[in-house]
Protein backbone atom coordinates (compact mmCIF):
# COMPACT_ATOMS: atom_id res chain seq x y z
CA UNK A 1 0.00 0.00 0.00
CA UNK A 2 1.42 3.38 -1.05
CA UNK A 3 1.33 5.66 1.94
CA UNK A 4 2.84 8.58 0.02
CA UNK A 5 0.26 8.55 -2.76
CA UNK A 6 -1.63 11.81 -2.56
CA UNK A 7 -4.78 13.24 -4.01
CA UNK A 8 -4.42 15.74 -6.84
CA UNK A 9 -5.48 19.35 -6.22
CA UNK A 10 -8.69 18.78 -8.17
CA UNK A 11 -9.44 15.59 -6.29
CA UNK A 12 -8.81 17.36 -3.02
CA UNK A 13 -11.36 20.02 -4.03
CA UNK A 14 -13.79 17.23 -4.89
CA UNK A 15 -13.47 15.38 -1.59
CA UNK A 16 -16.45 17.00 0.08
CA UNK A 17 -18.61 16.44 -2.99
CA UNK A 18 -17.32 12.85 -3.01
CA UNK A 19 -18.45 12.34 0.56
CA UNK A 20 -21.80 13.96 -0.26
CA UNK A 21 -22.31 11.62 -3.22
CA UNK A 22 -22.48 14.60 -5.57
CA UNK A 23 -19.74 13.55 -7.99
CA UNK A 24 -20.29 11.78 -11.31
CA UNK A 25 -19.43 8.07 -11.10
CA UNK A 26 -16.12 8.18 -13.03
CA UNK A 27 -14.73 10.99 -10.84
CA UNK A 28 -15.92 9.27 -7.67
CA UNK A 29 -14.35 5.99 -8.82
CA UNK A 30 -11.01 7.73 -9.44
CA UNK A 31 -11.09 9.05 -5.88
CA UNK A 32 -12.09 5.58 -4.63
CA UNK A 33 -8.95 4.19 -6.25
CA UNK A 34 -6.67 6.77 -4.67
CA UNK A 35 -8.29 6.22 -1.29
CA UNK A 36 -7.89 2.47 -1.61
CA UNK A 37 -4.18 2.89 -2.21
CA UNK A 38 -3.29 5.79 0.06
CA UNK A 39 -3.51 5.89 3.82
CA UNK A 40 -2.72 9.62 3.77
CA UNK A 41 -5.64 10.30 1.45
CA UNK A 42 -7.90 8.16 3.61
CA UNK A 43 -6.85 10.11 6.67
CA UNK A 44 -7.71 13.32 4.87
CA UNK A 45 -11.17 12.21 3.85
CA UNK A 46 -11.81 10.72 7.27
CA UNK A 47 -10.92 14.03 8.90
CA UNK A 48 -13.51 15.75 6.73
CA UNK A 49 -16.11 13.14 7.57
CA UNK A 50 -15.41 13.33 11.31
CA UNK A 51 -15.53 17.11 11.23
CA UNK A 52 -18.95 16.80 9.69
CA UNK A 53 -20.02 14.46 12.47
CA UNK A 54 -18.79 16.93 15.06
CA UNK A 55 -21.44 19.37 13.85
CA UNK A 56 -23.94 17.07 15.54
CA UNK A 57 -22.77 18.68 18.78
CA UNK A 58 -24.34 21.99 17.74
CA UNK A 59 -27.51 22.91 19.61
CA UNK A 60 -30.72 22.45 17.63
CA UNK A 61 -33.10 25.03 19.06
CA UNK A 62 -36.81 24.74 18.40
CA UNK A 63 -39.34 27.50 18.00
CA UNK A 64 -41.12 28.43 21.21
CA UNK A 65 -44.42 26.73 22.01
CA UNK A 66 -46.52 29.75 21.14
CA UNK A 67 -44.73 30.41 17.85
CA UNK A 68 -47.47 28.98 15.61
CA UNK A 69 -50.30 30.88 17.29
CA UNK A 70 -48.29 34.07 17.49
CA UNK A 71 -47.32 33.84 13.84
CA UNK A 72 -50.84 33.12 12.62
CA UNK A 73 -52.21 35.99 14.70
CA UNK A 74 -49.57 38.34 13.32
CA UNK A 75 -50.41 37.23 9.79
CA UNK A 76 -54.10 37.89 10.36
CA UNK A 77 -53.53 41.27 11.96
CA UNK A 78 -51.11 42.26 9.24
CA UNK A 79 -53.44 41.03 6.54
CA UNK A 80 -54.91 44.08 4.87
CA UNK A 81 -58.14 43.32 2.96
CA UNK A 82 -58.24 44.26 -0.69
CA UNK A 83 -58.54 48.02 -0.58
CA UNK A 84 -59.68 49.63 -3.80
CA UNK A 85 -58.37 53.00 -2.68
CA UNK A 86 -54.86 51.53 -2.54
CA UNK A 87 -54.89 50.62 -6.23
CA UNK A 88 -52.69 52.75 -8.50
CA UNK A 89 -55.50 53.57 -10.91
CA UNK A 90 -57.78 54.76 -8.15
CA UNK A 91 -56.19 58.24 -7.91
CA UNK A 92 -56.91 58.94 -11.60
CA UNK A 93 -60.49 57.74 -11.30
CA UNK A 94 -60.94 59.82 -8.18
CA UNK A 95 -59.64 62.97 -9.92
CA UNK A 96 -61.95 62.40 -12.88
CA UNK A 97 -64.91 61.78 -10.59
CA UNK A 98 -64.26 65.01 -8.66
CA UNK A 99 -64.11 66.99 -11.92
CA UNK A 100 -67.33 65.38 -13.15
CA UNK A 101 -69.10 66.21 -9.90
CA UNK A 102 -67.96 69.83 -10.13
CA UNK A 103 -69.26 70.11 -13.71
CA UNK A 104 -72.58 68.57 -12.68
CA UNK A 105 -72.93 70.97 -9.76
CA UNK A 106 -72.12 73.91 -12.01
CA UNK A 107 -74.69 72.81 -14.61
CA UNK A 108 -77.37 72.25 -12.00
CA UNK A 109 -76.68 75.65 -10.44
CA UNK A 110 -77.00 77.32 -13.86
CA UNK A 111 -80.27 75.58 -14.62
CA UNK A 112 -81.70 76.41 -11.21
CA UNK A 113 -80.60 80.02 -11.57
CA UNK A 114 -82.30 80.27 -14.95
CA UNK A 115 -85.50 78.78 -13.61
CA UNK A 116 -85.60 81.10 -10.62
CA UNK A 117 -84.82 84.13 -12.73
CA UNK A 118 -87.49 83.23 -15.29
CA UNK A 119 -90.10 82.70 -12.59
CA UNK A 120 -89.53 85.59 -10.29
CA UNK A 121 -87.92 88.42 -12.27
CA UNK A 122 -90.41 90.26 -14.63
CA UNK A 123 -89.36 90.40 -18.28
CA UNK A 124 -90.95 93.15 -20.44
CA UNK A 125 -89.89 91.59 -23.69
CA UNK A 126 -91.61 88.30 -22.76
CA UNK A 127 -94.88 90.15 -22.08
CA UNK A 128 -94.73 91.91 -25.49
CA UNK A 129 -94.05 88.56 -27.19
CA UNK A 130 -97.01 87.04 -25.42
CA UNK A 131 -99.31 89.90 -26.60
CA UNK A 132 -97.92 89.94 -30.16
CA UNK A 133 -100.92 88.24 -31.95
CA UNK A 134 -103.33 90.75 -30.42
CA UNK A 135 -101.07 93.70 -31.24
CA UNK A 136 -100.84 92.60 -34.87
CA UNK A 137 -104.69 92.84 -35.21
CA UNK A 138 -105.04 95.86 -32.94
CA UNK A 139 -106.41 98.17 -35.72
CA UNK A 140 -109.17 95.73 -36.60
CA UNK A 141 -110.13 95.33 -32.95
CA UNK A 142 -110.36 99.09 -32.59
CA UNK A 143 -112.86 99.29 -35.49
CA UNK A 144 -115.10 96.72 -33.83
CA UNK A 145 -115.35 99.04 -30.80
CA UNK A 146 -117.15 96.58 -28.48
CA UNK A 147 -117.47 92.90 -27.86
CA UNK A 148 -121.28 93.01 -27.70
CA UNK A 149 -121.47 94.44 -31.23
CA UNK A 150 -119.18 91.72 -32.48
CA UNK A 151 -121.37 89.02 -30.95
CA UNK A 152 -124.47 90.50 -32.62
CA UNK A 153 -122.73 90.39 -35.99
CA UNK A 154 -121.81 86.73 -35.39
CA UNK A 155 -125.37 85.85 -34.52
CA UNK A 156 -126.56 87.60 -37.67
CA UNK A 157 -124.47 85.24 -39.76
CA UNK A 158 -122.05 87.90 -41.01
CA UNK A 159 -119.11 85.60 -40.31
CA UNK A 160 -120.79 82.51 -41.76
CA UNK A 161 -118.18 81.86 -44.45
CA UNK A 162 -119.38 78.32 -45.23
CA UNK A 163 -122.81 79.59 -46.37
CA UNK A 164 -121.12 82.04 -48.72
CA UNK A 165 -119.06 79.29 -50.31
CA UNK A 166 -122.16 77.25 -50.98
Amino acid sequence: MEKVLRLSADQRDDLVAYLDGELPDPVAQAIDQVLARSEVARHEVEALARTWEMLDALPVPKASAEFTDRTMTTLKVGEVPYDITEQPWFAHVKKGAVLAVWFAVLGLSGWLGFQITARWVPNEQAQILEDLPMLQKFDAYQEVQSLDFLEQLNKGGVFNTSAEKE
Binding site: D13, D14, L15, V16, A17, Y18, L19, D20, G21, E22, D32, L35, A36, R42, V45, E46, A47, L48, A49, R50, T51, W52, E53, M54, L55, D56, A57, L58, P59, V60, P61, K62, A63, S64, F67, T68, R70, T71, M72, T74, L75, G78, E79
Partner: protein, 244 residues
Protein backbone atom coordinates in the same frame (compact mmCIF):
# COMPACT_ATOMS: atom_id res chain seq x y z
CA UNK B 1 -15.56 0.11 0.32
CA UNK B 2 -16.74 -0.91 3.78
CA UNK B 3 -13.59 -2.92 4.51
CA UNK B 4 -11.12 -0.40 3.19
CA UNK B 5 -12.56 2.86 4.47
CA UNK B 6 -13.15 3.97 8.03
CA UNK B 7 -16.73 3.64 9.18
CA UNK B 8 -17.15 7.44 9.38
CA UNK B 9 -16.26 7.88 5.71
CA UNK B 10 -18.41 4.94 4.70
CA UNK B 11 -21.45 6.25 6.57
CA UNK B 12 -21.01 9.76 5.28
CA UNK B 13 -20.69 8.68 1.68
CA UNK B 14 -23.64 6.30 1.90
CA UNK B 15 -25.79 9.06 3.37
CA UNK B 16 -24.74 11.42 0.61
CA UNK B 17 -25.49 8.90 -2.10
CA UNK B 18 -28.88 8.15 -0.56
CA UNK B 19 -29.73 11.85 -0.53
CA UNK B 20 -28.77 12.32 -4.17
CA UNK B 21 -30.72 9.20 -5.10
CA UNK B 22 -33.74 10.45 -3.19
CA UNK B 23 -33.53 13.81 -4.91
CA UNK B 24 -33.34 12.22 -8.33
CA UNK B 25 -36.45 10.20 -7.56
CA UNK B 26 -38.40 13.19 -6.25
CA UNK B 27 -37.21 16.03 -8.41
CA UNK B 28 -39.16 16.36 -11.65
CA UNK B 29 -36.31 18.33 -13.19
CA UNK B 30 -33.99 15.34 -12.86
CA UNK B 31 -34.67 12.78 -15.58
CA UNK B 32 -35.07 9.23 -14.34
CA UNK B 33 -34.27 6.09 -16.25
CA UNK B 34 -37.90 4.99 -16.37
CA UNK B 35 -39.86 8.21 -16.47
CA UNK B 36 -43.39 7.94 -15.14
CA UNK B 37 -46.18 9.30 -17.21
CA UNK B 38 -47.86 11.86 -15.03
CA UNK B 39 -51.01 13.61 -16.00
CA UNK B 40 -50.78 17.33 -16.60
CA UNK B 41 -51.94 18.03 -13.04
CA UNK B 42 -49.53 15.55 -11.49
CA UNK B 43 -46.50 16.80 -13.40
CA UNK B 44 -43.86 19.15 -12.08
CA UNK B 45 -43.80 20.25 -8.50
CA UNK B 46 -47.50 19.69 -7.95
CA UNK B 47 -46.57 16.29 -6.55
CA UNK B 48 -44.88 17.99 -3.59
CA UNK B 49 -47.42 17.74 -0.71
CA UNK B 50 -46.18 21.04 0.67
CA UNK B 51 -46.82 22.69 -2.69
CA UNK B 52 -50.35 21.32 -2.42
CA UNK B 53 -50.69 22.88 1.04
CA UNK B 54 -49.43 26.19 -0.34
CA UNK B 55 -51.93 26.03 -3.20
CA UNK B 56 -54.69 25.48 -0.65
CA UNK B 57 -53.40 28.45 1.35
CA UNK B 58 -53.52 30.46 -1.88
CA UNK B 59 -57.22 29.61 -2.12
CA UNK B 60 -57.74 30.96 1.39
CA UNK B 61 -57.28 27.79 3.48
CA UNK B 62 -55.52 29.12 6.58
CA UNK B 63 -55.47 25.64 8.09
CA UNK B 64 -53.15 24.55 5.28
CA UNK B 65 -50.87 27.49 5.97
CA UNK B 66 -50.82 26.63 9.68
CA UNK B 67 -49.62 23.15 8.74
CA UNK B 68 -46.78 24.69 6.75
CA UNK B 69 -45.84 26.94 9.66
CA UNK B 70 -45.78 23.94 12.00
CA UNK B 71 -43.72 21.92 9.56
CA UNK B 72 -41.03 24.57 9.12
CA UNK B 73 -40.97 26.69 12.28
CA UNK B 74 -38.36 24.59 14.09
CA UNK B 75 -36.25 24.11 10.99
CA UNK B 76 -36.19 27.81 10.17
CA UNK B 77 -35.56 28.79 13.78
CA UNK B 78 -32.63 26.41 13.91
CA UNK B 79 -31.08 27.72 10.68
CA UNK B 80 -31.53 31.36 11.69
CA UNK B 81 -30.26 30.67 15.20
CA UNK B 82 -26.93 29.56 13.75
CA UNK B 83 -26.91 32.65 11.53
CA UNK B 84 -27.73 35.29 14.16
CA UNK B 85 -26.87 33.47 17.42
CA UNK B 86 -30.05 34.57 19.17
CA UNK B 87 -33.21 32.56 19.71
CA UNK B 88 -35.41 35.65 19.75
CA UNK B 89 -33.91 37.13 16.59
CA UNK B 90 -34.08 33.73 14.92
CA UNK B 91 -37.80 33.43 15.70
CA UNK B 92 -38.41 36.97 14.46
CA UNK B 93 -36.69 36.13 11.18
CA UNK B 94 -38.59 32.85 10.88
CA UNK B 95 -41.84 34.73 11.45
CA UNK B 96 -40.81 37.24 8.79
CA UNK B 97 -40.33 34.39 6.32
CA UNK B 98 -43.85 33.13 6.95
CA UNK B 99 -45.20 36.67 6.71
CA UNK B 100 -43.61 37.13 3.29
CA UNK B 101 -44.89 33.80 2.08
CA UNK B 102 -48.38 34.57 3.35
CA UNK B 103 -48.42 37.95 1.64
CA UNK B 104 -47.19 36.43 -1.59
CA UNK B 105 -49.68 33.54 -1.54
CA UNK B 106 -52.11 35.09 -4.02
CA UNK B 107 -49.43 35.15 -6.73
CA UNK B 108 -47.87 31.80 -5.80
CA UNK B 109 -46.85 29.56 -8.69
CA UNK B 110 -45.27 26.17 -7.98
CA UNK B 111 -42.02 26.57 -9.91
CA UNK B 112 -39.85 24.80 -7.34
CA UNK B 113 -40.18 22.55 -4.36
CA UNK B 114 -41.81 24.42 -1.49
CA UNK B 115 -38.79 23.96 0.79
CA UNK B 116 -36.45 25.38 -1.85
CA UNK B 117 -38.70 28.41 -2.29
CA UNK B 118 -38.96 28.91 1.48
CA UNK B 119 -35.21 28.73 2.03
CA UNK B 120 -34.65 31.13 -0.87
CA UNK B 121 -36.83 33.63 0.96
CA UNK B 122 -34.96 32.87 4.17
CA UNK B 123 -31.65 33.47 2.40
CA UNK B 124 -32.83 36.82 1.04
CA UNK B 125 -34.13 37.80 4.43
CA UNK B 126 -30.86 36.88 6.13
CA UNK B 127 -28.94 38.90 3.52
CA UNK B 128 -31.21 41.93 3.95
CA UNK B 129 -30.95 41.65 7.72
CA UNK B 130 -27.16 41.52 7.48
CA UNK B 131 -27.06 44.54 5.15
CA UNK B 132 -29.37 46.63 7.30
CA UNK B 133 -27.36 45.73 10.37
CA UNK B 134 -24.25 46.80 8.52
CA UNK B 135 -25.83 50.13 7.65
CA UNK B 136 -26.87 50.72 11.24
CA UNK B 137 -23.39 49.63 12.32
CA UNK B 138 -24.84 47.32 14.90
CA UNK B 139 -22.71 44.66 16.43
CA UNK B 140 -23.55 41.28 14.99
CA UNK B 141 -23.26 38.49 17.48
CA UNK B 142 -22.17 36.07 14.81
CA UNK B 143 -18.44 35.47 14.78
CA UNK B 144 -17.78 36.26 11.15
CA UNK B 145 -19.17 39.76 11.65
CA UNK B 146 -17.21 40.45 14.78
CA UNK B 147 -13.93 39.14 13.53
CA UNK B 148 -12.42 35.80 12.74
CA UNK B 149 -11.86 35.02 16.39
CA UNK B 150 -15.04 36.62 17.66
CA UNK B 151 -16.38 34.86 20.71
CA UNK B 152 -19.61 35.65 22.49
CA UNK B 153 -19.29 36.56 26.16
CA UNK B 154 -21.12 33.52 27.46
CA UNK B 155 -18.94 31.27 25.33
CA UNK B 156 -15.81 33.05 26.46
CA UNK B 157 -16.91 32.44 30.03
CA UNK B 158 -17.43 28.75 29.34
CA UNK B 159 -13.99 28.53 27.75
CA UNK B 160 -12.38 30.44 30.58
CA UNK B 161 -14.04 28.22 33.14
CA UNK B 162 -13.07 25.04 31.43
CA UNK B 163 -9.55 26.09 30.52
CA UNK B 164 -10.38 24.67 27.14
CA UNK B 165 -7.36 23.14 25.49
CA UNK B 166 -7.15 20.51 22.78
CA UNK B 167 -5.03 18.27 24.96
CA UNK B 168 -7.66 17.61 27.57
CA UNK B 169 -10.92 15.76 27.32
CA UNK B 170 -13.93 17.79 26.25
CA UNK B 171 -17.31 17.43 27.78
CA UNK B 172 -20.36 17.76 25.59
CA UNK B 173 -20.98 21.43 26.36
CA UNK B 174 -17.38 22.36 25.70
CA UNK B 175 -17.46 20.51 22.43
CA UNK B 176 -20.57 22.46 21.53
CA UNK B 177 -18.79 25.74 22.19
CA UNK B 178 -15.82 24.70 20.07
CA UNK B 179 -18.02 23.64 17.19
CA UNK B 180 -20.10 26.82 17.44
CA UNK B 181 -16.94 28.88 17.28
CA UNK B 182 -15.77 26.93 14.28
CA UNK B 183 -19.09 27.59 12.55
CA UNK B 184 -18.91 31.28 13.34
CA UNK B 185 -15.57 31.53 11.63
CA UNK B 186 -17.24 30.68 8.37
CA UNK B 187 -18.59 33.54 6.33
CA UNK B 188 -22.39 33.88 6.11
CA UNK B 189 -22.75 32.12 2.77
CA UNK B 190 -20.51 29.23 3.75
CA UNK B 191 -22.40 28.86 7.01
CA UNK B 192 -25.81 28.87 5.36
CA UNK B 193 -24.69 26.32 2.78
CA UNK B 194 -23.34 24.08 5.54
CA UNK B 195 -26.54 24.43 7.56
CA UNK B 196 -28.78 23.60 4.60
CA UNK B 197 -26.56 20.65 3.74
CA UNK B 198 -26.33 19.38 7.32
CA UNK B 199 -29.79 20.01 8.76
CA UNK B 200 -31.99 20.13 5.69
CA UNK B 201 -30.09 17.37 3.89
CA UNK B 202 -30.37 19.45 0.74
CA UNK B 203 -28.53 18.51 -2.42
CA UNK B 204 -26.09 20.93 -4.06
CA UNK B 205 -28.68 21.69 -6.69
CA UNK B 206 -31.34 22.58 -4.11
CA UNK B 207 -28.88 24.65 -2.09
CA UNK B 208 -27.96 26.41 -5.32
CA UNK B 209 -31.60 27.21 -6.01
CA UNK B 210 -32.14 28.47 -2.49
CA UNK B 211 -28.98 30.59 -2.50
CA UNK B 212 -29.33 31.63 -6.14
CA UNK B 213 -26.06 30.16 -7.32
CA UNK B 214 -24.99 27.24 -9.48
CA UNK B 215 -24.48 23.72 -8.15
CA UNK B 216 -20.80 24.03 -9.09
CA UNK B 217 -20.51 27.19 -7.00
CA UNK B 218 -22.17 25.39 -4.10
CA UNK B 219 -19.68 22.57 -4.44
CA UNK B 220 -16.82 25.02 -4.24
CA UNK B 221 -18.43 26.95 -1.36
CA UNK B 222 -19.00 23.79 0.66
CA UNK B 223 -15.54 22.49 -0.10
CA UNK B 224 -13.95 25.66 1.31
CA UNK B 225 -16.33 25.71 4.27
CA UNK B 226 -15.69 22.09 5.22
CA UNK B 227 -11.96 22.52 4.82
CA UNK B 228 -12.12 25.55 7.15
CA UNK B 229 -14.08 23.50 9.66
CA UNK B 230 -11.61 20.67 9.40
CA UNK B 231 -8.67 22.98 10.09
CA UNK B 232 -10.34 24.42 13.20
CA UNK B 233 -11.82 21.21 14.54
CA UNK B 234 -9.12 18.66 13.72
CA UNK B 235 -7.19 19.28 16.97
CA UNK B 236 -10.38 18.49 18.91
CA UNK B 237 -11.42 15.55 16.80
CA UNK B 238 -10.25 12.70 18.99
CA UNK B 239 -11.40 14.50 22.13
CA UNK B 240 -14.73 15.18 20.50
CA UNK B 241 -15.23 11.49 19.90
CA UNK B 242 -14.56 10.78 23.55
CA UNK B 243 -17.03 13.49 24.54
CA UNK B 244 -19.72 11.89 22.41
Amino acid sequence: MRNLFPQTVFNHRVNGLRRVDRQQKNDPSVPTKTPPEPTAEESGYLRDPEVQLMLRAKEGDDGAFTQLVKAYQDRLTNIFFHMVSSQEAAEDLAQDVFLRIYRARHGYQPTARFSTWLFRIANNLASNSRRSKGRRKEVNLAGSESGPLGVRPQEQLAIDKSGLMPNRQLDKQELQVVVQQAMEQLNERQRLAVLLNKYEDMSYEDIGEAMEMSAAAVKSLLSRARENLRQVLEPYMQLGREAK
